[in-house]
Subunit: 278 residues, 4 copies
């Protein structure tokens, strides 16, 4: 984390306004942004501090779409239960849902980006350079496989899981993974993180002794890292995507409520068992 800037003012490159104009990211909001940039493009810009190119926006929005909703996840259920309890504070129900966006559920995107970024940094330190990310070819793939073997081997030696590998439901392959890879390729954004992630997919069975799918949340993390985002901020995009999904759940809960029935089902199944702690 950078040092606190000294001085009296609070610097920001985001929104400022005076009586006549509203500026955002150094642009005139009304004249330059409204109707001219998509919401996804703006979200990229706000976080990256630079305007994305059209190909970057397409990859970025595909990632957000991929992460938006997965049905009755713990976060969606928590949001609906909170809306049941406090229907007058929609922001509270939304916030309750987002608070589940931590290490376990939404964390894969961040963990994968962090794992890949670390492995790339390590490879560069050791070998002075990374394999290329051109169209490919067997030779280039082989060099990425070597980097992947080192990275997976280090995780295994440390007794840690490889982030982005495996999925509780999509055991034969997460359908999002090949599509995100294809879109990144189409837009010229299949960079080192994605190349390494694919290589992990090829080499891990020989090291781990079993074959696991590359999951969709993981490929999203790799794609975001190839767009230049720091691992620490990746969770934020998973949360932004999930915000749209949670709004969908809350709108649906208004029309076809289920939270009351979920609560009743749990409450009726409660069994008193004396505490075992102490």
């Amino acid at each position: 984390m950078a040092e606190e800037q000294q001085g009296d003012g609070y610097p920001t490159g985001l929104g400022t306004s005076d009586a006549d104009s509203i500026r955002l990211l150094g642009k005139d909001l009304a004249a330059d942004l409204l109707g001219r940039v998509s919401f996804g493009e703006l979200a990229f810009w706000l976080v990256a501090g630079r305007r994305p190119e059209p190909g970057e926006t397409r990859v970025f929005e595909a990632v957000l779409v991929a992460l938006a909703d997965h049905g009755f996840t713990p976060t969606a259920i928590a949001a609906r239960l909170t809306y049941l309890s406090a229907p007058d504070a929609l922001q509270g129900a939304l916030a309750a849902g987002l608070l589940g966006g931590g290490s376990r559920f939404l964390g894969v995107t961040e963990d994968t980006g962090r794992f890949l970024a670390g492995a790339l940094a390590e490879a560069e330190r050791e070998h002075g350079a990374l394999p290329g990310t051109s169209a490919g070819g067997a030779d280039e793939d082989a060099r990425w496989d070597a980097v992947a073997r080192e990275a997976v081997g280090r995780q295994r030696a440390a007794g840690q899981l490889v982030p982005g590998l495996g999925h509780p439901v999509h055991k034969q392959g997460d359908p999002r993974t090949p599509v995100i890879l294809r879109i990144a390729e189409e837009e010229g954004r299949r960079g080192p993180h994605l190349r390494l992630f694919e290589a992990v997919g090829r080499v891990h069975p020989e090291i781990l002794g079993r074959s696991l799918p590359l999951n969709g949340a993981g490929v999203c993390g790799a794609a975001l890292a190839d767009l230049g985002f720091h691992p620490e901020i990746l969770r934020g995009f998973a949360l932004l995507a999930r915000t749209a999904g949670l709004l969908g759940h809350l709108a649906e809960e208004r029309e076809r409520p289920v939270a009351g029935r979920i609560y009743n089902a749990v409450d009726r199944a409660a069994v008193y068992v004396p505490p075992s702690r102490g």
Copy 2:
């Protein structure tokens, strides 16, 4: 709010999945949505339960862009202070920021939509029909002005403010307002809520005795209502837009932190004064 559906299952029109596919909104997520719909379009779809037409998406995304950030608002400051205190839980900082999205700051969008929807319902009840929303003309405007006079008059008689009128900074006019109106007009989405809101802008000085600008958060509420959204859900879109803005603040806080200085400035200015309560 609708009745709880009876039966064993929990119905949802959002995400479902099995081993081979992920479905969202009845579509195949990987084949039909990734790379084919923008994130804004998906957010509309998730809440409305129907796919928007391209013109609707453009108006909708313009609204989200208009509401994304306003600099160092209380919500942005709260998010930054929370990130300072708990940097390992980005979801908490984001949630803290969103929790300020209540009645006072982000509430204008919702309040304006609710006020206009109520006024339209009242006008239809009283007069059997609403004025048209075709290209316009002085005659059509005059009929909208009549509806607006009744609505503003009722608020005044009840001693209540007219939502969407006035802005603490943009006293001569909020620069977002004419642009949102123009985009809605271009896309054929300048419907009854926007028409009535414009009429409120024309007639309120004669009733209230002073001239106030139509503010940008209000015109966003009117535009969303013309897209078919219920007032109760409008706050959700203001929150979604603000999520992107808050992520921008948190990314900026990582790079150029100011929260520690804000905290110190407040703490240093603390003055002990005995409690006056009791």
Copy 3:
């Protein structure tokens, strides 16, 4: 809400510190408070701005104990699901649980306090004085019954429910109610709010045509109001009490987790039904 104080400093009657001492509420924290005041006493003092008398503390702590936990409520389930998703951020799980403390579940305490305070103010306006709150007697009760009849009648005429009446489970009487009343009586704190609440319990059948129990959350609101707290802050005490209960749930979830099974039960029962909205 009071006016913002002008000037440069930020006044507070709570905590301040310098290199050698920590002061809280104008006292020396280490010398005067640690080991000398209970946590409940401190909570009262922090909100009221005055130190409670011992009898007040006993009533106050009884109320907190009464409101602390009700098993698998929506708020407890939401907290557990959030802990499942983000076990590294206990504060997020706790916050998610508290966010359900809104109008519907935890709201009864506040609503009852507000209803009673309003009815007392109205009675004082109309009749110049309130009945006494001495030991009682049939005559005093009869005067409270008259106030209660007016208050219940007004709610009925306005088509509104009487807060604090009725309970979904304890249909023959909430066991907390007589005990809170007894403790308040023992400590000389059975003031006008509790007297009026009891009168509501006596007279409502003749007005509403059916007999409902005085619920425990309602009597807690009345007791807190008799301790001098403003209705707007009553929800805060329900939240404080619930914080302890939620910590109990999270500690139990660590040892005997159920959230994963709740999630699975809901997810397995999901049924895709096309959206009905639009």
Copy 4:
């Protein structure tokens, strides 16, 4: 984390109820708990799963009192700003404040408990037994000093700080520390965690080369650990204590608001500086 229990029901040792009674922790809430246990005692019981002895309750409540408020901390400011933005949802303002209860500010209590518990486990593994915790004497102190030297040395060798050492304001000694130690001693609860913490205070200068005070949040963590609580739950008590402090701030904000002035001061000091990222 323990295994999910199989079977149909959801076990809980907390609250259950039927039409006639409310049970909490296996007791009759109305008959056995109301007016008979303090709120602090109940909080201990809810988390520990066992009723504390009176001496334990006194230590526990002293810890809660010590941690309740520290004036205009980032969490208190965030809560006040959220209340300014959304005054109708007190639960949101409280939750926003608690969300800052993460690794940095409220984390010291937990970190110290974890550090001490780890050092005790390590010492027991290496030496087969721990020094005694009787009244003391130079010999016993010397044996604790030896354990502390190993623990502090390991932290230093790993390049990590010793949790609970040092305070930004109370550089010559945190006034809470000796009082918590004295209360624990009075109640016979000055166990191995506190003994080791004191020893850390004695030996660290010879290892670290400078003398730092034992801070109050750290001694609270040690005291809670000596009461038998697992380090993972300690943060929860810091949050419970802080809930009372935050309610104090919100009640004060109602009467003597400062959040609007804080917001204005920050907003006025905003300076546009182009983003440096990319």
